[in-house]
Structures are given as structure tokens and as C-alpha cells.
Amino acid sequence: MHFLRYTVRKILYGIPLILGVTFISFLLMVYFGPEQTYTLLGKNPTPEDLENIRRQLGYDLPFITRYAQYLQEIFTFDFGYSASSNERVLDILARTVPVSIMVSIPGFLLGNGVGICLALCAAHFRGLWPDKLIMFFSVFGMSVSLLIVIIGFQMIFCSSYGLNWFPVQGWDVDSFFDYLKYVTVPTMATSFVAIGYNTRFFRSVLVEEIDSDHVRTMKAFGIHPLIIIIVHVLQNNLIPILTRMIFTIPYILIGGSILIESFFAIPGVGGVTYDAISSGDLPIMKAVISIYTLLYVGVLIATDLVYRLVDPRVELG
């Protein structure tokens, strides 16, 4: 009951955040964003044409009215039609979002799973050669740009200069085998970088815990090191680890996938976002920003709830 009330309150706290983010981003889109009037018109438009097209696009309405319309769109989840392709925005999202999720999930799982295992290993052997080896590769992974990794992996795995095992780009998925064929190299590229960052972060968190008094107590009473590291070190640090993991979800779904999707020609939401920004497709931008905001606020609420679940010291204040 207590927990339910806490949850409801957290959700209510999310509402002003959604309003704030959408308001500011809408302000930026309207006053500093793309203006499509002249792109849609031919040469030498008459004042009537101008007025016509502005009315069609809704540019003539006062800002507040347009923002209210936007809020209504978020609420009904209906963002109208794309300004460039005239396709329904919802249809575009329904087509591209699942693809992005499919592309990013393996990388997300691998990046975090392998990152945690390596970090546990490095923290356990702190100062010794396994630690140094792992940290060397993790800093290496961090230091190389994702762009280089993508191109490098494409050269190695997808071209006839290298192994030529996988298609260099595309997304023609009908079966699980197809899925593996197209998803492997992008996953390797994202994991390569993510593992580097994650391992370093997780290790620094875990090393602190390994020095703590309660871990020493467990050692002094002869508890098995594997139990210590998983039950007493990892469990106690789930808060920073989960925070980091959960917070990367919105990022990898939209932001992080732009590069991957464009280099591997994957028809995901990242590419759609990029096109919308460069062509000034307001309805799509509005939709993507709303989804992004909702995801982020959802993630914030989720982390607050997860904190309480993993650490009894967190008060349900």
C-alpha cells in the first residue's frame, strides 16, 4: 500500500517534467526550427499561396494554441501526417521503432552483461594482472570512436578484404537466421564501445565496495569469495549499476542508433529522426521528442522504484 502510494506520487511528479520538456522543445522547434513554407511552394508564390500553405501547416495559429494542440497530440498519441512523405506518423513509428529495438537489445544485454562480469573480475583481482588486462582493453574500447569501430568491423567481417561473413548493410529479416545475419556486426560494434565504458564505470563502483568493512567482515568469517562478490558486493551496488543501465535505454533506442542505423542502412527510428531533423519534418520531430521524453520520465520513475526494491535503506518519503 505504502509502495503503491509512493509509485503514484512518483508518476504525478513526472507530469510537470513532461510539460516542461515538451514546452521548451516545442518553443525551440517553432521559433528556431525548420520552416517549411518556402520548401513546399514553387517559384514566385503569391501572397495568397503563402497564406494558404501557412494555414495548412498551422503556422498562422498563436503559439499557445499550437502548444495545446501538441499536448493533445501527445495525449491521444496521434501526431498527424509526415510533412515530407504524407505518411501517417504513427505508421512510420510502428514500422521503425520495433526495428530499432531489435537492433539495440542484443548490444544492450551484451554491453551490460559482459561489462558487469569483467568489472567483477577486475575488482576482485584489483591491482593484479587480470585487472590490468581488463582495464587496458576497456580503456581501449572507450578511446576508439564508434565510427572507426563500425568501419573497421565492416571491413573485417563484411567485406571481401576481410572475412566476408555478414552482409555489409541492410535489414531484410524474415527469420531468426536473417536476424542474426544482420544484427551481429552492429551488435559487435556497439558492444565493443559499451563494454569499455561500462566495465570502467562498474569496476570503479565495485572496487569501492570491496574495500568496505562489511566485505572484510565476510572475509574474516571465511565466506566464499564468489558469494562475497555476488551477494555482498554486486547486490550492494545495484543502485548505481541499475541507474546507469536503465538510463541508457532511451539513449540507445533513439540517439545511439542514429550512427549504427545510417552506416548499416537499417530502417529504424534513428534514421527517421535524422531525416526529420534535416528536412524539417515537424510532426515526426514532435512525435519522436514526445516518445523520448515519456521514455525518460518513465525511466526516472522506474529507477526510483527499483532503488526501493534493492536497498531497504531508501525511505519511501
Binding site: D213, R216, T217, F221, G222, H224
Partner: protein, 328 residues
Amino acid sequence: MTEPAQKKILEVENLKVRFSSEQGSVFPVDDVSFSLNPGEVLGIVGESGCGKTLTALSCLNLLPFPGVIETGEVWFNGDDVLKLNEKKLRHLRGAKIAMVFQESMTALNPVYRIGSQLSSIISMNRKVSKKQAKALALDYLTAMGIPGAEQRLHDFPHQLSGGMRQRVLIALALACEPQILIADEPTTALDVTTQAFILDKIRGIQASADMATILVSHDLGVVAEFCHRVIVMYCGRIIEKASIQKIFTEPRHPYTVGLLNSIPQVRQKVLHRLQIIEGAVPNLHDLSSGCRFANRCSQAQDRCFREEPFLSGSGGHEVACFYPREVQ
């Protein structure tokens, strides 16, 4: 107090602990040797940073990072603890030698209930079921005078007071029924009346189970109450070693004399100003070649600044001083 049997249960020989940093290596424990008889209570006293806790931790081969044992042996049951493999060390820790830590506030895992932590540790060390371990935990908590012990088992560590947590730790160590109990300032967090109660409890269990005990403390009052023999440490070295009567009646090292003089006495006819030992403990990074106490010693002579004295003496009373106080 009767003199315990002479078969040693623990022997520490020439223990030297090194900590390396960018400023160079220091040896916070330097050439420390002592032994422990079965059933005996040995006190290790000295001020903060003199190496008493590190000495105690070395007996379990549990030095904090980046400390390493440079040289030395710790003999227990015919094994050198410092050379045991990981598995044998695990069997030794807790079950054979249990330790009570000074930092009672943080010594338990904050995210698990006390009952589950105690029962998992006890069941592992006593080789009993979780249920039996829980009953044992309850027994010992009650013996430690924790009110509503049953209820406390369901609490998280942060819900207990400092004194309560300290008692939980002592109960945990005692419940493992070790052959040796190492208690690092076990009663520092407790108020004086509780302290007396707890010490009395530990002594009861210690005597009935014939459990040898090392008591690390800076509180000479507690040591006088509790110990058979005392080691006085200063700056990583043992400077005096004697039975409890000898230390209190015939202290020989000027530092020990100073320590004893700085105990506040309550029931005196005439109140004196408390004596203090002038100066401060030298930095371990720049120790001179002489006696480590020389710069604070009122008896120091030229030789004390040039040479370092080593422990010597007879009749179980050893002192590391060139000019020890003469025994009347």
C-alpha cells in the same frame, strides 16, 4: 589468575607489514613476535596507528589493500597462516579464529537483515543448518543482553544503535565458537556500564570454552580487568611485554610508564593534573635509526638516537629500552 598451560596456540614470529605508496614503503608493523597460550587473554595496547589492528588482522591474513606481509610467520595448529591456500584460510577464518571489528557501524552488510547475515555466517562456520544457526544466533544475542533479540533479527543494521551493533558482532564471533577470539576495541562504542557487562560475558564464555583471546585496546582499564598478559606497541614495534601485574606495578619502558600515568584516576584524595606524553608519534616515512620513542622520551640519551633497542629481559618481562626503569 593461574598461569595457563605452556603449549602455544598461536605464535607470531618476526611479523613485518609493508604498505607501499608513491612516497615509498612504510612498515606499520615491524618485527613483531608474540605467542598466545590456550585459554589466555593477551592484551595489545598502544595509541592509534601503532599497528595493533594490523597485527591482529595479520593473524587472519586479512590485511587491507595495499598492505602486504613482508616477512614473518603466524603459526596456528602447525600451519603457517600466512602460507595457507585460499580454501584452508577460509576454513580457518571464523571457525578457528574469529574477529570482532572495531567499526561496528559498518561491519555488517546494510542491505540484508541481521538474522540472515548471522545465520548464514554461523551455519557455514559451525556446519549446522540455517535454522539451527538462527537459534544459535538468538541464544548468543540474548546472552549479550540484547533486549528483544528475536525482533532484532528482523531488523536491518541501520535500525540498531551503535552499542547494539557492537554486541551483535561480538555475539556473531562467539557463536562461531572459535579457538581464538580476536577482539579489536570491542567495547569502545559502548558506555561504561554496558562495557562491564559485555566484558563479563566474554570472559564467562572465554573461560568456560577455554578460548584464547587477543584483546586489542587503547583502554588500559579494560586491559587491566581482562588480560593475563600485555603487549605494549609503539610505532609498529613491541616495546614491552609482560604479565598484567608486572605492567601495572613495575612498568619498565618510559612509554609504558607515561601511558599508565596518563590514566585519569577518579578517587584520589588530592587531584593532580593529568600527565601527558610530550610530542607526537613520528611519521613512519622518516624514522631515524634510533629508538622510535627517543624524541618524546624524558630519559633519552645519545645512544637512544643512534641505535635501536631490541626486546630483552627475563622472567616473561621483556622491554625494548637501553635505560629501562629499574625494578625496585
